[in-house]
């Protein structure tokens, strides 16, 4: 095989790799602007925990300004509670989830009815035991949002929690 052919193959390989990379970058940027209104966002903060020891890991969420979501324990049984679900992962023990207390809220048109809601920032804590290694714990936050005049269908926010156990 001549040197010319080797160079051609190197350049072609480089073009292929670059094309793949460009596609991945493009796909990632498009994903970040996917259409669809989310009323709650999640801050995926990587956490480092002690391997084999139960650690309380905070999962931080933010409710869009002007909206509220029902707390984990709404006062009315017809309301949809906020619910965090973490998928079981091999070797990781997921213990009790601690939800924050809600804040009292009433719609202006019905001050008599007291609701229990989350607004702004709120944190749900998970008790986790993981053996040494790095993991990404997947889960969802199910919630139902309202503003001061309307309510919106329940949504499920996917979450990914990067964990390093040392």
């Amino acid at each position: 095989m001549g040197r010319g052919q080797t160079h051609t193959r190197t350049i072609l390989s480089a073009i292929f790799v670059l094309t793949c990379l460009a596609y991945i970058v493009h796909a990632q940027t498009n994903l970040s602007t996917a259409k669809g209104k989310a009323f709650v966002s999640y801050s995926a903060e990587p956490v480092i925990i002690a391997a084999g020891k139960q650690t309380i890991v905070p999962l931080r969420f933010h409710t869009l300004s002007g909206y509220h979501i029902n707390s984990h324990t709404p006062r009315q049984d017809y309301l949809i509670a906020t619910e965090l679900t973490l998928q079981p992962a091999s070797g990781i023990q997921i213990g009790k989830l601690d939800y924050p207390a809600g804040k009292p809220y009433s719609f202006a048109f019905d001050p008599q009815e007291k609701l229990d809601v989350y607004t702004g920032d709120f944190t749900v804590s998970a008790r986790i035991i993981a053996p040494k290694g790095t993991y990404t714990l997947l889960g969802t936050l199910h919630y139902q949002a309202c503003d001061n005049a309307a309510c919106y269908p329940p949504k499920t926010l996917p979450i990914a929690l990067p964990i390093t156990a040392k």
Partner: protein
């Protein structure tokens, strides 16, 4: 050999540049979205009198059906009967989308009951469409508690999107000619009842026969 190293170096530089551009682009987009959200929040504060539902409609550009033929539907009522919009030909129709977990909906539904009684003699038909997947008995419990006297239909997958409904309550006032006269998204917290009554009157007066 030197040429190979040069090509490899070039590839690394280009990859680094691509990655940087991707990350930078992503950050810029994120920043732009945050700025947009902040601007929207600023608007929310500045226009505190305006209902948030109206702002939601602006943000999501809810389709404006006014002047257009109301999307047709055939749905099953709580009592099992099939009801079509076409059944009400020649009448003014108020189509009200609601959900069992929607507190504002439960405020306005008794108003709709009142208006249905008041304007049915003039040719108003009121139809409720429940947009969530609650069990039928739970829906009936709510409608009975609120004294709902008009048909309540169970939404299918199409009707909500046909009307562009993304939040509850949402009401469409359809004239006698089958065209949408007015539409309301959310509950007007200041004078919602008056607005609904005014829109019912418009629908009754529209497309007269």
């Amino acid at each position: 050999m030197k040429r190979n190293i040069a090509v490899l170096g070039l590839i690394i530089v280009v990859i680094a540049a691509l990655l940087w551009a991707g990350i930078h682009n992503g950050r810029q987009r994120k920043l732009a979205i945050e700025q947009q959200q902040q601007q929207q929040q600023a608007v929310l504060v500045a226009q505190s009198k305006t209902t948030a539902a109206a702002q939601q409609a602006e943000e999501d550009t809810m389709p404006d059906y006014r002047g257009k033929p109301a999307p047709g539907f055939t749905l099953t009522a709580l009592d099992g009967k099939k009801i079509s919009l076409a059944d009400y030909k020649g009448k003014a129709v108020l189509v009200n989308f609601w959900a069992t977990w929607c507190a504002p909906c439960k405020i306005e539904m008794p108003w709709l009951v009142e208006f249905d009684k008041k304007y049915s003699v003039q040719g108003l038909e009121t139809v409720g469409i429940v947009g969530d997947v609650a069990p039928k008995d739970e829906i009936e419990k709510i409608t009975q508690k609120l004294g709902v006297n008009y048909p309540v239909l169970l939404a299918d997958r199409k009707v909500g999107s046909a009307y562009g409904v993304d939040g509850y309550p949402a009401s469409f006032f359809i004239g006698r000619d089958g065209k949408v006269v007015e539409q309301i998204s959310g509950l007007d917290t200041d004078n919602g009842k008056d607005v609904i009554e005014a829109d019912i009157k418009k629908a009754l007066a529209s497309g007269g026969q």
